[in-house]
């Protein structure tokens, strides 16, 4: 046997091992990257589930009694306004939601003012509500009327020192077991 060949032959398994290991590591990394949704050449992957919404975003599950879940949503809305947490606030609203200013003329819808859709509601919070920096927003005297997957709530809202008896009407809808805000009509109390 050629003396030069023998050590070479003997060394081959030892030489291959690190190279094979490196290639395997590189392949594992590449494979992991390909399965990542942020990879440039990644395969399409299923979208992650949507974030919990409405009452379910508050840690309440679908088995929570409707009235309890609805109260929790309305209380959370007030607390999140005080905290100015716009992202958490918007999770309480359904996609087709709206806010209406009844302008203290509850019998005349012609002068009502609308913010239609979540973009508009978000804008109203950020540009109109938050600048007032309310330190307390507390709905009270809740009168909840349930009708299957929908609910209507009449409420008196305390915003700081301002009290609006029966001035607010909330509409909620249950979607996938979660109660979401669908509309708020405020300034419903008629001017004296």
């Amino acid at each position: 046997m050629n003396s030069l060949c023998k050590p070479r032959n003997d060394s081959r398994p030892h030489m291959r091992q690190p190279i094979v290991t490196v290639i395997l590591v590189a392949l594992m990394i590449a494979t992991a990257a390909c399965s990542s949704p942020t990879g440039a050449d990644s395969e399409p992957v299923a979208a992650p589930p949507p974030p919990a919404a409405g009452s379910c975003a508050l840690g309440l599950d679908a088995a929570t009694p409707a009235e309890e879940a609805i109260r929790a949503v309305l209380l959370a809305e007030g607390e999140l306004v005080v905290q100015q947490d716009i992202d958490a606030l918007m999770q309480l609203w359904s996609e087709d939601s709206r806010v209406v200013d009844a302008k203290n003329t509850p019998d005349d819808e012609a002068d009502d003012q609308y913010w239609d859709g979540k973009d508009a509601i978000r804008h109203r919070y950020v540009r109109t509500v938050f600048p007032g920096a309310p330190d307390q927003v507390q709905p009270s005297d809740l009168v909840i009327s349930l009708d299957g997957e929908q609910a209507v709530v009449l409420a008196t809202t305390h915003i700081g020192s301002e009290i609006s008896p029966d001035g607010d009407r909330w509409e909620l809808v249950r979607i996938d077991g979660c109660w979401l805000l669908r509309s708020l009509t405020y300034n419903l109390e008629a001017r004296p």
Partner: protein, 236 residues
Amino acid sequence: MNAPFRSLLATAALIAGLAFVYGPRISPGLFGQEQPASNELTYVADLDFWRRTDRETAVVAHARFDLDADLRNVPLTVGEWTGEEVPQTNQEVMILLEPEQYVQRLYRNEAGQYLWLSLIGGRSSQPFHPPDICYDADGWRYNLSSTSITLDEGGEIYGLWMDAQKLFPGESVPTDHVVFYFYLFPNRDRDLQDGIVLFKLTSGKYGTLEDTLAIHRDFVRHLFNSAPDSGARRRL
């Protein structure tokens, strides 16, 4: 092959593998990804300038909408519309807003319709009073919502619209304004110092509200080409 050489080879292969896999994420430009062509003008559009919304999207424009450029270079001919400069002469506006640039254009088409384009640029929050606040203060009644515009080369750009009415003294019919607007940033950092431009269209009402918004959409489509990363609401 001796041991040091094998170690060197293994290290080099590992580094090459890591660079291959993660390099494009670390420096997309270096690897030629997500970079617009050199003649493309890419901005970031959003409904709000203060807080990022899930409607934020990159948009490719046909003109420069950043404060390192003269906003008056935005074309005076936009599709079927021909514009003229109408400088803002209201000193109260200039004192109140202190904009770095304020371009006000009146565009007309052959049908006799008009459309105001306002481009208000600044590097602080002072110039950017939301239009609805001003309309409210001036006694207009309005409804507000959002709409999307599908761009010719793909993607959508979102803006807020206002449908406003006001009955002026001595008039029997209210005046209608339809306003559509969004904000433009030079990059996703949205640093005030980099500058922000409010893009705002104002017109009378031509037919229904939807008819009027269709006119606004057509105008915008002539100035913006695509929104490569737009789609459903993004998660922040």
